[in-house]
């Protein structure tokens, strides 16, 4: 059953359009991430679902209850949507103890004091915060505050929880731990979560599905594997990973296979949207898929080594191909000699129409 359904949502600030017809569904027990560059509208979409922003067109349904319908001017206020929202800044109330912060949602729903005590204690324990109930937010570390914010959003069992960049206020090391922990918690408690992030690795690690937003529209949606391994547009391919790009002209496109000729090279790969003979194109490949060969061959390009950098767990090699550059990873340093042959394996190479 879909816990959350958004359909054809439009929103603008003054004359500036922010969302241009966004649709999404969130199934029970799923984590869906809204991913996108800043200004793509992902946070606005989350806030519109929460009821903190008002769209002018479209519908939002939570379970089978319509909470927003632009055509009927129906707009259920935020406080009656019964959602849980975790803010980027956590927004813990500094004048309330941790216990009171978490208890507030239950108090608002008229639970008895005994009930509240049991539920809050249990929630705090589930998030390993059991001993911190009587402290105030400023006495907690960033990671603990983040968990309190989560406990506060979960304690009254909302059908959907909304997470706005939940990990971005943690330092890099803690973030990787928290991301695994958060994913595990969401799965264990069978929560349905909508999560905003600008970090593609975080989105892939945490979500069942990713929605990539671009300019207020959903560019592509799918599982992390689909998004990374089978991007439908240049934008998605570019956003989801670390890439090499070669520009040229598409000379052939047939049966899902395209060939692109560039400045002194010719490569063949999977044809993507809009790839047609005679149009300018871009060949794109993930950096980790590039291989270094000794001899010329198909999809191999003669290249000059610019530099070989040691980055800890591996080497990163930088090559020059005409005016362009190619990056590749390797286990050992390369010696500078005139010609290397860089292989872009056909099954890992995508050919896009330029600007798609």
């Amino acid at each position: 059953m879909a816990e959350l359904t958004v359909d054809d949502l439009h929103l603008r600030y003054g004359d500036t359009p922010i969302l241009n017809g966004v649709a999404l569904t969130l199934e029970r027990g799923q984590v869906v991430s809204l991913l996108g560059p800043s200004g793509s509208g992902k946070t606005t979409l989350l806030r519109a679902v929460a009821g903190l922003e008002t769209p002018y067109q479209g519908t939002i349904r939570i379970g089978d209850q319509v909470v927003f319908d632009g055509a009927k001017s129906l707009d259920v206020p935020a406080e009656r949507r019964n959602l849980g929202l975790v803010f980027q800044s956590y927004a813990l109330w500094p004048h309330k103890t941790i216990f009171d912060n978490v208890a507030y949602g239950l108090k608002l729903r008229g639970h008895s004091a005994a009930d509240i005590k049991t539920s809050v204690t249990r929630a705090l324990e589930q998030l390993s915060l059991g001993h911190l109930g009587q402290r105030y937010p400023h006495q907690l570390s960033g990671g603990q505050q983040q968990r309190v914010a989560l406990a506060r959003a979960l304690v009254y069992n909302p059908p959907v929880i909304l997470l706005d960049e939940p990990l971005s206020n943690l330092d890099a090391k803690l973030r990787e731990e928290a991301r695994a922990w958060l994913r595990e918690l969401i799965v264990r408690l069978q929560l349905s979560a909508l999560c905003v992030t600008h970090d593609q690795a975080e989105a892939m690690a945490m979500s069942d599905r990713i929605l990539l937003l671009n300019g207020g529209r959903i560019e592509q949606q799918g599982t992390p594997r689909e998004m990374y391994g089978n991007p439908s547009t240049l934008f998605v391919a570019d956003f989801m990973g670390s890439n090499n790009e070669l520009k040229g002209d598409i000379v052939e496109a047939r049966d899902g296979v395209a060939t692109l000729n560039g400045d002194g090279f010719s490569v063949t790969g999977a044809a993507r949207s809009g790839a047609a003979p005679g149009v300018p194109g871009v060949a794109m490949i993930r950096v980790e898929r590039v291989r270094i060969a000794d001899a010329p061959g198909p999809n191999r390009i003669a290249a000059k080594l610019v530099t070989s950098m040691y980055i800890g767990d591996r080497f990163e090699h930088l090559f020059e191909v005409g005016k362009g550059r190619l990056r590749a990873y390797g286990d050992s340093a390369l010696e500078a000699r005139e010609a290397f042959h860089v292989e872009l394996p056909r099954e890992s190479l995508w050919i896009f129409r330029a600007g798609s």
């Binding site: 019964n82 849980g84 109330w93 608002l108 249990r122 408690l189």
Partner: protein
């Protein structure tokens, strides 16, 4: 989370109840602000007082006033005073702000509250202080005569009044100039310094031009306050018969022998016609100043500019101003309160007496005035802050037509000088049968004070409210709290320290207030400020001196508590 009770939709808020307090707050505020003003406007177009049966609608009042050469002289005097004090207060205030905010001048922590003193002491009291200190037989004049054979100054002419008004309005410029300077990176000053500019050259060519928008705003503010002056021209203008608009209005009361409310109303409207555009201009300039401040703000890296050999000069300038604007009048009152009489050849020790205070404490009117003044500051101040908070909440995080209406509404009393507001409220209490029994009670006084200081109070409250991050309130909304509950359980507890600070500041302002009570003064609701005006008219110098000192002490107590608890004295 299977272990917690099943989800329950939040309790539906009663929308009528959720909206009603807001509508009521706005309605009450609007009537408290607009009714008195409307009454003045109405009265100004009548040919006789509004309660007079023979009244007719007409322009007779305006015709009379415009035909009176005294009115035009008063207008000219007001304008001269306003221009003069602006020319003195703005450069001096800007310079003091630079020295205090940007340089390594010592003892800043002690000096800062002292600089703000003139803005907390009643102008009536300050002016009286100048009379007894530097008037023809003032302490300092007599001492100067003993020392050098002459006291080469006079304080009763228009230029002298402009100088005194200018000196005592320096704090108004100072507060805005310092907050603008705070947001300025010190790198621009260091660049000028390394290029070879002296500290004062840096101030004149770099720092102060960069805060020009803030200075322009304070210039308009001081000019505007010049038109509002009442206590100072009343006390200092009297001996030589100089009238300004407000004192002209005040004298009209007895000019014709009968209540000349229609003439007073016409003058009042003339004053508002000058001040209201100035208030709107200030609002606009303040928004501009804030915008500029944020653009240039590279705050954070702030390094005091070393004054070097200019330090003695800067200190001398500051102390000279402090001496003239604070020490002379305050010491004058303090001395005068403890002597029987004063003049050439009188020794301070021989004339020492406590009789002045005895006279104050033996007269029930005076003791009541003291008690009332304390009550209106403490309890009245607290209720006023509660009202301001209610209005603040009515517009908080709401960007609709009503909020904009309230925004402008609170500006209206700003344009109505206390004297006029007091007069208007007197009429309201005479006019509205339901309110008539309350006229001679402290309530009428409190209501007028609260409305007169509405804009000031709202600024304090909104400063506190804006410090509450939006997300803290949104978090409560998404969890299911209605607006009312968010206000009570989240926002209000978060701003409680700000409210306590506001209470202290409003206490000081209410202790200081004098002009608003002038017309509302009645047996039973005496307050020191208005009482001083009436006693001064009666020539009771001894009692005025003693009461003035009591007034200064009350303000000083408020100031001491505020400093003790680290309340910011300005926004």
């Amino acid at each position: 989370m299977s272990t917690v009770p099943a989800a329950v939709a939040p309790v539906a808020p009663n929308t009528l109840l959720a909206r009603f307090p807001r509508a009521l707050t706005i309605l009450v505020t609007a009537s408290a602000v607009l009714a008195p003003l409307a009454l003045i406007l109405y009265q100004s177009f009548l040919t006789a007082p509004f309660f007079d049966a023979s009244k007719k609608v007409g322009l007779g009042a305006y015709r009379f006033v415009f035909a009176d050469p005294d009115f035009w002289q008063a207008f000219l005097n007001s304008f001269t005073l306003a221009v003069g004090m602006t020319l003195i207060a703005v450069p001096l205030g800007a310079l003091l702000a630079f020295v205090m905010e940007r340089t390594d001048l010592p003892w800043k922590r002690v000096l800062e509250p002292m600089i703000l003193v003139p803005s907390f002491v009643s102008p009536m009291v300050l002016s009286f202080g100048y009379v007894v200190a530097a008037g023809p037989v003032g302490f300092y004049s007599v001492w100067a005569q003993d020392l050098i054979g002459t006291a080469p100054w006079g304080i009763y002419s228009i230029p002298a009044m402009a100088v005194i008004a200018g000196l005592t309005h320096v704090p108004n410029v100072y507060v805005y100039a310092t907050s603008a300077l705070k947001s300025l990176g010190s790198d621009v000053e260091e660049a000028a310094r390394t290029a070879g500019a002296s500290p004062f050259r840096v101030a004149a060519t770099v720092s102060l031009p960069l805060i020009a928008p803030a200075l322009l705003f304070s210039a308009v503010l001081v000019f505007f306050l010049g038109f509002e002056l009442f206590g100072l021209p009343l006390v200092l203008g009297d001996p030589e018969g100089h009238l300004v608009l407000s004192t002209y209005l005040y004298k009209l009361t007895n000019k014709l022998g009968v209540p000349s409310y229609h003439l007073m109303a016409a003058v009042a409207i003339c004053i508002v016609a000058v001040t209201f555009p100035l208030v709107l201009l200030q609002r606009r300039l303040l928004q501009n100043a804030r915008r500029f401040a944020t653009i240039k703000g590279k705050a954070g890296r702030m390094k005091a500019l070393p004054l070097g050999r200019w330090k003695p000069l800067a200190m001398a300038l500051l102390l000279a101003w402090l001496f003239l604007a604070v020490i002379v009048p305050v010491s004058g009152i303090a001395l005068r309160a403890f002597v029987t009489n004063w003049g050439i050849g009188v020794s301070l020790l021989d004339a020492f007496t406590l009789d002045n205070f005895r006279a104050v404490f033996e007269e029930p009117t005076h003791t009541r005035a003291i008690v009332n003044t304390i009550l209106i500051g403490t309890i009245g101040g607290a209720i006023a802050v509660a009202c301001y908070t209610a209005i603040g909440f009515a517009t908080h995080r709401r960007n609709d037509g009503w909020s904009r209406f309230v925004d402008y509404l609170v500006l209206v009393p700003r344009a109505v000088p206390g004297l006029l507001a007091g007069l208007a409220f007197l009429w309201v209490f005479l006019f509205v049968p339901l309110l008539a029994p309350l006229r001679a009670t402290l309530f009428s006084m409190w209501l007028a004070y609260t409305v007169v200081w509405l804009a000031y109070g709202m600024r304090l409250i909104s400063t506190s409210l804006f410090q509450v991050s939006t997300e803290l309130e949104e978090a409560a909304r998404t969890i299911g709290a209605s607006r009312g509950r968010i206000s009570r359980e989240i926002t209000l507890p978060l701003i409680r320290h700000g409210l306590l600070g506001s209470w202290l500041l409003v206490f000081m302002i209410f202790e200081r207030e004098y002009s608003t009570g002038v017309y509302l003064l009645a047996p039973g609701n005496e307050v020191i400020g208005a009482e001083l005006v009436s006693l001064w008219q009666g020539g009771a110098i001894d009692v005025v001196a003693a009461l003035s000192l009591v007034n200064i002490v009350l303000v000083a107590i408020g100031l001491a508590i505020a400093l003790r608890f680290g309340v910011r004295l300005r926004d």
